[in-house]
Symmetry: C2
Subunit: 459 residues, 2 copies
Amino acid sequence: MSDITTRFADIVGAGNLLSGDAVPDDYSHDEELTQAPQKPAYVARPATAEEVAQLLATASEEGTPVTARGSGTGLSGAAIPRADGLLISFERMNAVLEVDTTNQVAVVQPGVTLTELDATTIPFGLGYMVHPGEMSSSVGGNVGTNAGGMRAVKYGIARHNVLGLQAVLPTGEIIRTGGKIAKVSTGYDLTQLIVGSEGTLALATEVIVKLYPRLEHSATVLAPFADFDQVMAAVPRVLASGLGPYILEYIDTITMAALVHTQDLELGIPDQIRDSCQAYLVVALENRTAERLDEDVERAGELLAELGAADVYVLEGGSARKLIEAREKAFWTAKAIGADDIIDTVVPRGSMPKFLAAVRELASTAGGAAAGCGHAGDGNVHLAILCKDAEKRKKLMGDIFALAIELGGAISGEHGLGRAKTPYFLKLEDPAKVALMHRIKRSFDPAGILNPDVLFAEP
Amino acid sequence: MSDITTRFADIVGAGNLLSGDAVPDDYSHDEELTQAPQKPAYVARPATAEEVAQLLATASEEGTPVTARGSGTGLSGAAIPRADGLLISFERMNAVLEVDTTNQVAVVQPGVTLTELDATTIPFGLGYMVHPGEMSSSVGGNVGTNAGGMRAVKYGIARHNVLGLQAVLPTGEIIRTGGKIAKVSTGYDLTQLIVGSEGTLALATEVIVKLYPRLEHSATVLAPFADFDQVMAAVPRVLASGLGPYILEYIDTITMAALVHTQDLELGIPDQIRDSCQAYLVVALENRTAERLDEDVERAGELLAELGAADVYVLEGGSARKLIEAREKAFWTAKAIGADDIIDTVVPRGSMPKFLAAVRELASTAGGAAAGCGHAGDGNVHLAILCKDAEKRKKLMGDIFALAIELGGAISGEHGLGRAKTPYFLKLEDPAKVALMHRIKRSFDPAGILNPDVLFAEP
């Protein structure tokens, strides 16, 4: 064993330090579609914050690149390690430490999956409302990428639901930020700086998440529209209505057809309407009483009809759940139909019609196609990019991102940049901002060990 | 005129650069109670981001300390300039640039007051929901201090309602962060880093704020409780009920008596109940229909009675408004009754009974008193500290802050540290975090010109 291997093994125990051929393939990738898998030189599975601190202090001394891994469900390649690097897997730090009903928070270790957190909080009538579409994702991963998902339109994104952290700096210092408190004005908000930093600033070893009361009654309204612009025009009206949807999604017809086909959905929509519409709006409502929910569903139906919906379908429990689940699995559907890349560009929601029309034209010019669905209320557009030629695809994606930025948006709303989108970011972002971010990075990570291929072009 | 005076005057025009005796007293203070007023050497009133950029670039070159000022309503002394410094007043940058109903945002200059923003958004049925209790405060000031206020329990704090900024770095670079978008995962969240930084990192020259639909119907329920702990125990139950209050405040009896007296309130509470209760809970509800509001008020009344309220009063329009306004003016009431200092410590809401009992004992031991009210839903306790002896008061406040931190809270929930609370912060905060924050500060502000007495002990 090399000296470094011994040092890492001494920290986590020989059984929790893998190296060389003993490293399983799983640790070489996440769910991103285009990046080559890469096995790390070492995998460490620490059990405590102190072990993480010792690993990072050692890596800083040795100049070893470090990549953090939760469940490996990321879509940007932020969990792909360096060949000469250390992968820190949080699989053993997977305990829900506390469900605090008075303060309505849970304190969890980063390796906890959303499925586990959900199961633990259900008996208390509370829940962590960030559902990024993959319940096997970890809370630590949610922190890294600032996860969003369908419920963000009502409950916000990870950033709004992560109240505090225990985090380890690359120097090996352990800090606590925020707390079981919803507000603080006592120095810089380090919690918010670490959330969304994709493992480049510090590694979270404990996360305090906000819990909301679960409302008992919910229903889903599905409205096909003949015209895409009508869907987009309906969005601010639905939001201004006071109905407070917890899901507000659009699904284009290509994607709906793929979802219906691959997920075996039965939505009861006549062929004639299905064939004549360009997109669907999905509006999910919830309330604390069944009566109010019924009223809201009726009001939503009237409103959508006023706004030009070809028809309005109220989906009953089973089929509503199936549609939402199918929508959550849109990534897998995109993969199944042969998507060459996926993006989750965000634009101001008022710019979605213009953006999507331009994207279709750009894709077509490149000899490809772009189809998708997205968080209409948030302007967060999830697109499957179909374009086999790698060079053309790269140019197409660059053009799409440039357009989004021109419209006041950003490359990614919730997936993050990872290894895959960082080159676009460095090309398109204001150099003054990139330089500032890099100075911030160095203020956390003077040795530059944390995920050096993500957000910046490190040597 | 000195060379520096000429340089600043060339940027903003001679009529917008004051120096020496021409500087009015107003620019020497904010509303903080204990810090000595200090006139700056220069006051500049820029009209554009470009002028702000030139001012900062010049100040960086000359090593001139710079303090930003909005409306001067801050409560921590963050707007008190240095004697040798430049005060940048945003009074001329006071335009609402856009109310965007599709994206439900407003784009404003930092000098816009909340009164002006409110008046501009009312016709659209939308509103900026951060109400820190002083409607003459500026949006720029809200950004600086991460303002909160009573509605934070439903609508969040400034941090959750500021979606993007145009900001000037101390080096003179102008950047744009965030946008008319609710989510982004594309590099570090510079917006969130600048919000709450009290003018120490960058100066906002444009702010994109989130607007919410205004709900038409609202009512306020007032519940006196015999026992303080009962009030605190009621808070999580009200929050878990799904009633979604937009205000959830406690007011102790001393403060209520002062409010009733100084604001001439008539709440219709019999003497017998008033005399036997320790604190009040104020629950404000709103809904899109009058019927639902009535139901919710009834349900809230039943719930509060179950939770031990001595009685429940539903305040009609006029008296409800008066009570909320009186509560918003609690700072002025504290000042009127001779408070020697005020604090807005935050603790996990479950720790409020313990915290407040300990504070009363600490104050009494110091020969003083502490009375107040606060954002019960947020654990944000506003206390008037009555203790004439400056040394004893300093020790008392240090003890109170240390206790709050021990309970998992922080020195300030929304007022910020400013000049007044920075010494406590430097004494009580984890040195590793202070050092990290200082490195972040330097990554923005290499010359150390921005508000050098705030958050850090600069030379």
